[in-house]
């Protein structure tokens, strides 16, 4: 790591000309500009480019940091929490995770002036790709970051979009960005927040009911749920719960978008690296694949086709071409997301109806299959 120096950024070169766009291929180095304590265990890290650059990205996208910790290179993905409307810096927001190698390292070592390598931005989880007049942002824990970037963007564009921002936290003092969110509700007529806290904790002045997000609660917060474009990010269990609630509500899932903690579907292939989004520390070791008819549950690595994993575990499932052409392995997926690269053996509307070809599908999370 280079020396901790903090050059002033207020020189004329930044202000007298429009800086170029940040380009990950050329400027792959970021400099830490500021560290902000958000809650007792969450910090935001603001970065800038080495020479003046403007960051352009879609709110909701992520960057990949390449960190050298204890002599080993570790790649980690973090969604950007700052909005593209503040183009001079870019921030990530990270929760200190007990035992988490990267989050602890960042919390303990990252300070202004430090340089790190970064790739990106990438990802397609963004309200700008699904423009709707009304949005519902659902977040759990540090899943708040991509939604914060979107909310800040909409706010700063002054577009007055109708947004309901529902955030679930462990307790009131764990609510990340609580004051900034409150501030945004003052500035607009169409921005609302609601916080769902598991418990009160030490916050004696907290009067809202406690517990988990449920469908009746969600409906009471957002009665016009059905008309909204929904963006969701949080731990897998949280998102699974949200999906189940929306399905029960008969919500048209074409208008539901989520960002997963682990990822491989973004087209960024890093088989060796542990990849984790938004600051949690779940290693992407393997996922559970449950086959409901055979009553078997097997392990499948994120880089492994489900059919291969099942065969390796001794299951006999019908298949023929094993390249997504013949459709013999077509199966109904009951839950979980997969990345599928088929060869014409399945139609889009079958995919829409929940079918997958397991010979060419890799899990992105735990998956349940009717087979």
């Amino acid at each position: 790591m280079s020396d901790v120096i903090r050059p002033s950024r207020l020189g004329p070169e930044l202000w007298d000309a429009t800086p170029g766009k940040w380009n990950a291929d050329e400027d792959d180095t970021l400099i830490c500009a500021h560290v902000r304590q958000e809650t007792h265990d969450v910090k935001s890290f603001l970065f800038r480019a080495q020479s003046p650059r403007l960051f352009r990205f879609r709110p909701g996208q992520f960057i990949t940091l390449e960190l050298e910790i204890d002599g080993a290179v570790i790649n980690r993905c973090y969604t950007i929490s700052s909005p593209p409307t503040r183009p001079d810096t870019l921030s990530i927001t990270v929760k200190r995770h007990p035992g988490g190698k990267v989050s602890n390292w960042l919390h303990d070592n990252m300070k202004p002036g430090l340089k790190i390598k970064a790739l990106g931005p990438s990802g397609d989880f963004s309200c700008t790709l699904h423009a709707g007049p009304r949005y519902l942002f659902l977040s759990g824990g540090s899943g708040v970051t991509p939604l914060m970037s979107m909310a800040r963007t909409l706010y700063e564009l002054g577009e007055d979009h109708d947004v309901v921002f529902v955030h679930s936290a462990r307790s009131p003092r764990d609510i990340i960005f609580r004051h900034e969110l409150a501030m945004m509700t003052y500035g607009t007529s169409n921005f609302r927040t609601a916080f769902v806290c598991e418990k009160i904790g030490e916050a004696r002045d907290w009067s809202a009911p406690t517990g988990y997000l449920s469908l009746p609660l969600l409906k009471s917060i957002v009665p016009d749920l059905a008309q909204r474009e929904i963006f969701c990010c949080g731990p897998e269990a949280y998102m699974a719960n949200v999906r189940a609630m929306l399905r029960d509500a008969g919500f048209d899932m074409a208008h539901y978008h989520e960002e997963s903690f682990s990822f491989e579907r973004q087209g960024v292939r890093q088989p060796e690296a542990e990849t984790v989004l938004v600051g949690d520390e779940t290693p992407a070791a393997s996922f559970k694949i449950e086959f409901t008819r055979s009553g078997r549950t097997i392990d499948c690595r994120p880089d492994q086709f489900i059919l291969d994993a099942a065969r390796a575990a001794g299951m006999r499932l019908p298949f023929s071409c094993s390249k997504g052409v013949c459709g013999t392995c077509k199966s109904k997926k009951l839950s979980g997301q997969v990345a599928m690269t088929h060869g014409g053996g399945i139609r889009q509307r079958e995919i829409d109806a929940g079918m997958i070809l397991i010979c060419c599908s890799k899990p992105l999370e735990n998956v349940t299959i009717e087979k």
Binding site: C321, C326, G327, H342, G344, R347, R349, E350
Partner: protein
């Protein structure tokens, strides 16, 4: 196909103007000949583009013991294949309709793409040349969204002529912008020729079709003139002239074109006035669907009818289309496949009610099915002998039979010229 001397003699002695000798309606030998010479070598109407709106959609056509699958490929082209695997011959696609990624044989998973090419087999060795085992293709003809197939290697070329002539009539009804609102398969217990004979006359309509005759004029299909009906028939003639002029002026070709026995790919068409409100073939002769077809804005456009040999008829109104396909099953059973089409943006329950839309032809088909069965039973009697067609109301029946025998003779090497028995009265 080899045919017996007896059948050859029967074909030779057919008496024009009369129904056929009983074996034509009953025996396996004639049925096999029909399937080979008539259904195997002519253009057969089988369905509409809205049967297969998206890539991968297919429908199957049962034709005697043969099955054809009609699919839409990834480039939106309509293709047809014999529904038979090139491995050991298993039937490929099931059911009347469905949708597939590729066509995969359920037996050993030989996999064909939607152009019929064999793209995957297991266990066939490295030397195996898949290119030799594509699905057997069947010709597809498309007239403004009406789909025809032909099993012959060299299909009759005059299909193109029929297409060019018929397209201006049909295009304003825009079949490709329609959806199938209702469809019905009816098995009639009779030979397919009885079904066709029955369809080609309305001699039986007044007594048998209370629903259909609400909107259908009784003079539309031939009538014996008499002093009592002279005024009405005259009024109807004048109505046709007036309406044709009105419809033609809004770009809707209406005049009769008739080639029912003068071409290999034979047909007839005409836009005919409807009675009462004049809008549609419904129980009150008003439209059954509030959203009109294509860009049509007027409701009272009568009914454009289109008849083809050997197996179809169609009615196009301002609000809906009814199409019929006759598919022989065996000597004494025939499948009648009926589809009702409305504009694809029409909303069920708001713009139309499928029951109301289909009730006239649902009832009429049932009545016709019973009449066909009645003739089938009658033809089994030892006392049955061919009877004379009415020169006034059964002229089109004779044209159907005349076409049928011309085709049998041409395709089996008979050289007998026939003269229309009605030439004098026409």
């Amino acid at each position: 196909m080899q045919i017996s001397n007896e059948l050859r003699a029967m074909i030779g002695r057919r008496r024009p103007g009369y129904s056929l000798e009983a074996p034509f309606y009953r025996t396996k030998e004639v049925f096999d000949l029909d399937m080979d010479v008539i259904f195997g070598r002519h253009w057969i109407y089988v369905g509409v583009e809205p049967d297969i709106p998206e890539p991968g959609d297919y429908f199957t056509v049962p034709l005697g013991r043969t099955s054809i699958v009609v699919v839409r490929d990834d480039d939106m082209t309509v293709r047809a294949f014999h529904n038979v695997c090139r491995h050991r011959g298993a039937r490929l696609c099931d059911g009347e309709k469905g949708s597939v990624g590729n066509v995969v044989c359920p037996y050993h998973q030989w996999t064909y793409d939607l152009t019929g090419k064999l793209i995957h087999t297991e266990h066939m060795g490295d030397e195996f040349d898949r290119s030799q085992f594509s699905l057997k293709t069947v010709h597809v003809g498309n007239i403004a969204g009406l789909l025809f197939i032909c099993l012959a290697d060299e299909p009759p070329a005059d299909f193109e002529q029929m297409r060019q002539e018929m397209e201006p009539y049909i295009l304003p009804h825009r079949i490709s912008d329609c959806k199938i609102a209702y469809e019905e398969d009816l098995i009639e217990n009779g030979n397919w020729k009885f079904t066709m004979e029955n369809n080609r006359e309305c001699y039986h309509c007044k007594a048998n079709h209370p629903e259909l005759t609400v909107s259908l004029y009784e003079f539309g299909f031939g009538y014996q003139p008499s002093p009592e009906n002279a005024d009405e028939v005259q009024a109807f003639r004048e109505l046709i002239v007036r309406e044709h002029a009105r419809w033609e002026s809004c770009g809707l070709p209406s005049v009769e074109r008739e080639f029912l026995d003068s071409r290999v790919t034979a047909y007839r068409t005409e836009r005919l006035p409807l009675d009462k409100a004049g809008e549609s073939q419904t129980m009150n002769s008003k439209v059954a669907c509030q959203k009109l077809l294509g860009d049509l804005t007027q409701r009272n456009l009568g009914g454009l009818s289109f008849w083809t040999q050997p197996n179809s008829w169609h009615h196009f109104m301002s609000d809906h289309i009814v199409t019929f396909s006759v598919l022989p099953i065996d000597p004494e059973r025939t499948l009648l496949r009926t589809k009702w089409l409305v504009h694809k943006d029409a909303v069920e329950g708001r713009d139309y009610d499928p029951k109301q839309l289909s009730e006239v032809w649902h009832e009429t088909n049932k009545q016709d099915g019973a009449l066909v069965e009645r003739t089938q039973i009658g033809s089994q009697s030892a006392a049955y002998q061919p009877g004379p067609y009415s020169p006034y109301t059964e002229e089109l029946v004779e044209k159907f039979m005349s076409w049928y025998f011309k085709r049998l003779r041409a395709e089996t090497g008979h050289e007998t010229a026939t003269v229309s028995p009605f030439a004098a009265s026409a």
